[in-house]
């Protein structure tokens, strides 16, 4: 993509004109011959004051190079640590939650079975006549 971009680079100066037109040729020589260019030279760019270097160095020192290394290290590490920690927590939750469900279910099942047995025994006692009561037989 970049290669294509650069290959077109030299062919276009004015988007409306091709290279072989007088207009395009004129534009190619503009840099040094253009009065606009010469006029811009009469407004030179500003220069920083004498203390600029000292102040910038002080600011760099204040920010520190080492802190950046550390921050980069921690920036990269804490994401992995957080991700890993969350993953472990999730895995632990799934594992620990599975067994209580299982036990709860089995204990509930036990209780229900017992209840049925009790009910069944009670029901049998109340509904069905005992052999002693059944005198017709």
């Amino acid at each position: 993509m970049k290669k294509n971009r650069n290959s077109n680079f030299s062919s276009v100066f004015d988007p409306c004109m091709s290279d072989d037109t007088p207009q395009a040729n004129r534009e190619l020589q503009l840099d040094e011959n253009d009065p606009v260019w010469q006029l811009l030279a009469r407004a030179p760019r500003l220069e920083p004051d004498a203390w600029f270097t000292v102040r910038t160095l002080a600011r760099c020192r204040h920010v520190g190079l080492g802190t950046d290394y550390r921050s980069i290290f921690f920036n990269r590490t804490w994401r992995w640590a957080l991700g890993g920690g969350l993953g472990l927590c999730l895995a632990a939750m799934v594992l620990t939650n599975q067994s209580p469900f299982h036990f709860a279910f089995s204990s509930d099942q036990k209780n229900v079975q017992e209840a049925f047995q009790i009910m069944a025994s009670l029901g049998m006692d109340s509904d069905s006549p005992s052999s002693a009561q059944d005198s017709s037989l």
Binding site: L28, V36, E47, P48, D49, T56, L57, C60, L65, I72
Partner: protein
């Protein structure tokens, strides 16, 4: 591409190769914590960085702060710096990001300038500070004319859209090639040329009253 332009670009490239290698060597030294290398790098590029930002913002005080931020970023990135592109191009990408961010920030906020308008604090020589007339080298009317010219040209540059402005400043004052400007602005080569063409045409219209003077000035 004409032969002249090709030769010009090649000469510029060759001249910048040594400088670029030196910059990269300085960066590797800075990554090891060498403050002397950092000082050298700042001293080498401070004029270009500060001058470009000042031209872009039209505010010398804000430009100082932003230029410092550029070098702080360069310093902090020294450890991770990979010499894939030219150092200057890479550094000016930081300049571009900071300047465009500042423009966005300014467009959101309303500022009341503390400085007098029309760059009254700028001296004809271009430095910020006491506005003393240069009586040694120039006559008072020459100095006044020069100051007026500077003010008009700076205003015309500031009136350009930010991408055109940066393109014209990089090309005119920092002498970057079209390819480098394209890389800094992250646009294609033809788009860069188109941008510069439009910027130049806008300046031609804005400064048409002074272009006659410029021709006279050069013919004298």
């Amino acid at each position: 591409m004409t032969k002249d332009e090709s030769t010009d670009d090649n000469a510029t490239r060759l001249a910048s190769v040594d400088s670029d290698l030196h910059d990269k060597a300085l960066m590797s030294q800075i990554a090891k914590g060498d403050e002397v290398a950092l000082r050298e790098l700042i001293e080498k590029h401070q004029g270009a960085v500060y001058g470009t930002i000042a031209k872009m913002l039209g505010d010398p005080i804000e430009a100082q702060d932003l230029a410092q931020q550029v070098f702080v970023r360069v310093y902090r990135a020294a450890g991770n710096y990979r010499a894939t592109a030219q150092f200057r191009t890479w550094m000016f990408t930081i300049v571009r990001n900071l300047v465009f961010n500042e423009h966005r920030r300014r467009s959101r906020a309303t500022f009341v300038p503390l400085q007098p308008p029309d760059h009254e604090s700028e001296t004809p020589g271009g430095s910020v500070g006491l506005d003393l007339p240069d009586t040694v080298n120039k006559r008072p009317d020459d100095a006044a004319l020069q100051q007026e010219m500077m003010s008009v040209v700076n205003k015309a540059i500031l009136a350009l859209p930010e991408q055109q402005r940066l393109a014209i400043v990089l090309r005119r004052y920092d002498e970057f090639s079209y390819e480098q400007i394209a890389e800094i602005l992250q646009i294609s080569g033809p788009a860069t040329k188109s941008l510069l063409f439009r910027a130049r045409e806008t300046l031609r219209v804005t400064l048409r009253d002074y272009l006659g003077d410029e021709r006279d000035h050069h013919s004298c």
